[in-house]
Symmetry: C2
Subunit: 189 residues, 2 copies
Amino acid sequence: MKLLQERIINEGKCLDGGILKVDSFINHQLDPQLMEAIGEEFARRFADCGATKILTVEASGIAPALMTGLKMGLPVLFAKKQKPSTMEGMLTTSVHSFTKWQAYSLCISSEFLKAGDRILFIDDFLAYGNAALGVIEIAEEIGAEIVGMGFLIEKEFQNGAKFLREKGMHVESLAIIESLDNHTIKFKE
Amino acid sequence: MKLLQERIINEGKCLDGGILKVDSFINHQLDPQLMEAIGEEFARRFADCGATKILTVEASGIAPALMTGLKMGLPVLFAKKQKPSTMEGMLTTSVHSFTKWQAYSLCISSEFLKAGDRILFIDDFLAYGNAALGVIEIAEEIGAEIVGMGFLIEKEFQNGAKFLREKGMHVESLAIIESLDNHTIKFKE
């Protein structure tokens, strides 16, 4: 997606350890018009997947998932990273975060995710695919099906997409980064 | 806002201690169409406030803030509740959470909030106004102006709006709850 790639080139910052910082339009400040375009693009790519619900993870996944849900006419569910005091019937799994180098829990209420649901998972980054794997585990546990996984930015060198496709997933990434070596953003051709 | 009140009546759950649970369309699952209508309503109510930026707090504020930003053509900034490892030049303050009965930090990068900014603050709940107060403190610290504060649900009996108006704030709440006594939702006429 050219619009997204241009923003990454113009505003993205490469940090040590293969981290790409895009705080000015995805992870801290948001550009609503860009998010709307992203929602339209996911809706186009996943038009035939038969999803009944969008699933994402707080907090940075919420904006693109909401816009995708708006364009596809689907409800959006965001998994929480801490057990809420008021949640009952919780589905939970542990995820290792690449950026923060620590584990966190993914929590989803069984009230909103059920057997037979067809889930489109949307998230900001695809690195090693750890959050996506957590979602797959929860879906398997309750008998829901994941019909697509869409990411704004894929770091191809961390092999998350390869890992997810080997599990049979339909993966779409809007910007695919081949390398961040020498603090330089290199997109896949 | 009639549409929002109807959803609260139909799906809201009163928990002990004055807590209203609206997990099915605001705090866990989201209804994108409702959020779009909410964004339109805030854009209408704050049309003349001269805002240059929308500010909210992760995670539940993101959806209504994003839709308000889309309708008003403004960038959206979401404050984080934990200090991110990659954030520099951080503005921070401590907030006491009513629902979770504990304190958390509000963190905003000084890269995205500057002297002269005219901030429209959007959040899901207004209880005692603690998060709003934290935002006021940060704005004062850097010399930004808060030109409006919009909330989806105001719990009037916890006096947050009164407190904020005494500080000179323009407060707009889309649904105002007078009481949750006896686990019954009573709206202000």
